[in-house]
């Protein structure tokens, strides 16, 4: 992470939400495009080594983005983002869920509501996420999934850090 760009990350268990705030070194018009156009989202949305692959995207209230997170072995996890409200260059509300390849929502997996807002900061932009889960268990499950999936490298680094801390 570049230290000159602010990054806040807070898990608010009492409100079943995660708050994320990040500054980007680009004006709102560009950052907005990176968040709302699939050709850009495909380049950054999936945590590496996973890649996002868009099936279709219709960015407008009532529209949806259907995409797969594709793993290094070619495994696919399908997801849907349903846009509930859009205020161009300012923010949008979206409901996110896991689906099968046909787009049927898997109700056993956590669903979340995302409120994303964009604020100009001179030539930079601050993006704020409020991700709210219906149940506390969903928030925990999401954290645990991140824990399990494909991020062994980060895990090992943490293990080393903890091992060093215990000595």
């Amino acid at each position: 992470m570049r230290s000159n760009l602010t990054f806040d990350f807070t898990v608010d268990k009492a409100n079943k939400s995660i708050l994320i705030k990040r500054e980007f070194d680009a004006p709102v018009s560009m950052v907005w495009d990176a968040y709302t156009k699939s050709e850009y989202l495909d380049q950054w949305w999936a945590p590496r080594p996973w890649k996002a692959r868009t099936k279709h995207m219709d960015f407008r209230p009532g529209g949806e983005w259907r995409y797969a997170m594709v793993g290094p072995e070619g495994e696919e996890h399908w997801a849907i983002a349903r846009y509930r409200s859009v205020t161009p260059q300012q923010g949008f509300d979206v409901q996110d869920a896991f689906t099968d390849a046909e787009g049927t929502i898997n109700t056993n997996m956590p669903q979340a509501n995302w409120k994303v807002t964009f604020q100009p900061q001179g030539e930079r932009t601050i993006v704020e996420f409020v991700i709210t889960y219906e149940k506390l268990e969903d928030l925990e499950a999401t954290i645990q999934m991140g824990f399990k999936e494909g991020l062994s490298m980060a895990m090992e680094q943490l293990d080393e850090k903890f091992a060093a801390g215990k000595k």
Binding site: F7, F9, D25, V31, W44, F162
Partner: protein, 108 residues
């Protein structure tokens, strides 16, 4: 009632207790002396921390002392760090995408 580590650390008094006994294992009375709340309230907090396995009880002579379960605290850190890391990486990728967009638009 469901108890987990996150519930335990959601309360500021419990976080203060954790910090306190991280330095040194203590008796409930010694812990209570650091707070302006009743001994009963401190006991309740300790009970929750114990149920979440963040603290463990040990016998020291005739007294019970509470000590921090470091492994369990590490688990909390790990979960949050892991999740935070995903976002950090994601945003680093986005920084690159934004650089590309900037270049493209400047060429036009």
């Amino acid at each position: 009632m469901r108890r987990d580590v996150f519930q335990a650390i959601a309360d500021p008094t419990r976080r203060a207790i954790i910090l306190l006994i991280a330095a040194q294992a203590m008796t409930p009375n010694a812990i209570a002396a650091h707070f302006d709340i009743t001994r009963q309230a401190v006991s309740k907090h300790l009970q929750i921390l114990a149920e979440c396995e963040l603290v463990t009880q040990a016998q020291s002579g005739r007294e019970v002392i509470y000590e921090l379960n470091g492994a369990k605290m590490g688990e909390v850190d790990k979960w949050l760090e892991q999740f935070r890391k995903i976002w950090e990486d994601r945003f680093t990728e986005l920084d690159k995408v934004l650089l590309t967009i900037k270049k493209q638009r400047n060429e036009k």
